[in-house]
Amino acid sequence: MNGSNGSVMMDVRQLNKRFGDVHAVRDLTFQVKKGEVFGFLGPNGAGKTTTMRIVTCYIPASSGTISVGGHDTVEHSLDVRKKIGYLPENNPLYNDMMVTEYLKFAGELRGMQGDKLSSRIDEMVQVCGLAKMTGREIGKLSKGYRQRVGLAQAMLHDPDLLILDEPTSGLDPNQIIEIRELIKKIGREKTVIYCSHILSEVSATCTRILIINNGSPVATGTAEELTSQMGSGNQYVLRVRGSGPDIEAKLQGVAGVSSVSASQDNEWASVRVACEGNEDIGESLFRCVVDNRWSLAELKRERASLEEVFTQLTRG
């Protein structure tokens, strides 16, 4: 059914998952296209990990279907699993194994053997920056290196779909940047699903984002689409020499302005202007300032950040 549409990597339809009384995922429907870096975003407990466990065939859905590359996750579970590379939440690893030994084990279970497997392991060790750690015991590696081992494992068999569940949790800022760069690099060739509750992560790496809350989708689109969808988006910040109330009254008259608030700081006033629509009224504001012969120190447009969109959508 979905095989005909070549550009869809993963198709999730009407997905529901109940654990007893808890309705973890409700009527989730979305598609991931080939070559996308798809951000799957939501607060903790929103149902991200549950959804990914269903996609990777670890647990079945209560109702609804998922197909990966045209294969159904229930009927062709092994085919689906062959196509997926998965880095689970908290990155579980066999702590008593050596890095290469572990990658060899993972590769063998992926049906790889001999020279092909060892050259592929060497390649992953290079890509993930594990060269110095190959002979170390996994349990003795730092968190950053463990994460790389997990990534190397997930990418080892060159999967069509790479699923990363919170890949940067617990890393320090430098490691986060490194892992983020690595994911961007992978994302140029691969389809990636990136689960996270951290917005800056997702907006920095993903081409498209789906936000879920309490198991239901609340918004989807690119980072820009999401911010502009939330109408209240544009705000202007001005620093003008003059008396606050006077400036407030004059700026209120400019077309497209919905509210103005000014705070006086000696002879300078800091003014925040919120506008109704999404169009750029910067020039009108500037004209108004010039017409009144005020001095202008700053005029800046501020868009609602993804952060605000996220809080608005997932609050309560």
Binding site: Y58, I59, M97
Partner: protein, 238 residues
């Protein structure tokens, strides 16, 4: 098949990655040798019946120690979630793990070869009976292993897996014991005697291998491996 082999290799190596394997083998050999040779010179007979007679009791504590880690650790560290999203069937994982624990037990049992050698130096034992006894020990050990393996899949705590493993094995051992069959209703006695883990080892301990005993042990192994697969699948019906 490649999958079973990969799991087998990984699990088998895992025994020797920690010193536990060496401690285990040493303690096993010291305990069984001590208990056997204690009475050997008093009885003054060149056979191994006394040795094999010990094994149902010794295995009761040693075998759950072999299997306690095998699933519980995977559940605790959550590697199970990763392993089962790789393209392997639950059956392949169960078989691979079972074979690895079986080989480890096999090595431990075979290292007791010093016992028949010692006996052969002192007298004239019946080799057939000894070989039969070893085959029987492996079969009985495998049955104990399948129970321990299943119990380990029910918990993420190794100690709990060990204790419950001992209890379940002991229960299956005792239902065929005269202790229970003496007080059980007469109609149930033949069934209980048949089901008891220990009764099938008595003739084996004398070196007599009866096909009924082999069928019994293979059935026990099959049944508990099946339960093991079911308990791994149980994540799906939560």
């Amino acid at each position: 098949m490649q999958n079973v082999l990969a799991i087998f290799k990984k699990e088998f190596k895992a025994y020797f990655l920690s010193p536990i394997a060496y401690v285990f083998i040493t303690v096993y050999l010291v305990v069984t040798n001590f208990l056997f040779f204690q009475g050997f010179f008093i009885i003054n007979q060149a056979d191994m019946r006394g040795y094999f007679g010990l094994l149902p009791w010794v295995f009761l504590f040693f075998v759950p120690a072999i299997t306690m880690r095998i699933w519980a650790e995977e559940k605790k560290v959550k590697t199970l979630e990763l392993l089962l999203t790789w393209p392997v069937s639950d059956l392949e994982v169960v078989i691979g793990k079972f074979l690895a624990s079986f080989c480890f037990l096999g090595i431990t049992i075979l290292l007791s070869i010093t016992v028949p050698i010692t006996i052969a130096l002192l007298g004239n034992p019946d080799e057939g009976a000894i070989i039969g006894g070893y085959i029987g020990s492996l079969l009985m050990g495998a049955a104990y292993l399948s129970i321990g393996l299943w119990v380990s899949s029910l918990t993420e705590n190794q100690i709990v897996a060990f204790i419950i493993g001992v209890v379940v094995t002991f229960a299956l051992f005792m239902i065929g014991n005269p202790f229970v069959t003496m007080v059980a209703p007469a109609g149930a006695v033949p069934l209980l005697t048949y089901l008891g883990l220990g009764n099938h080892f008595e003739s084996v301990g004398r070196g007599v291998i009866d096909s009924r005993d082999i069928v019994y042990y293979l059935s026990v192994i099959g049944f508990f491996l099946f339960l093991n697969i079911r308990s791994i699948e149980s994540r799906k019906w939560e």
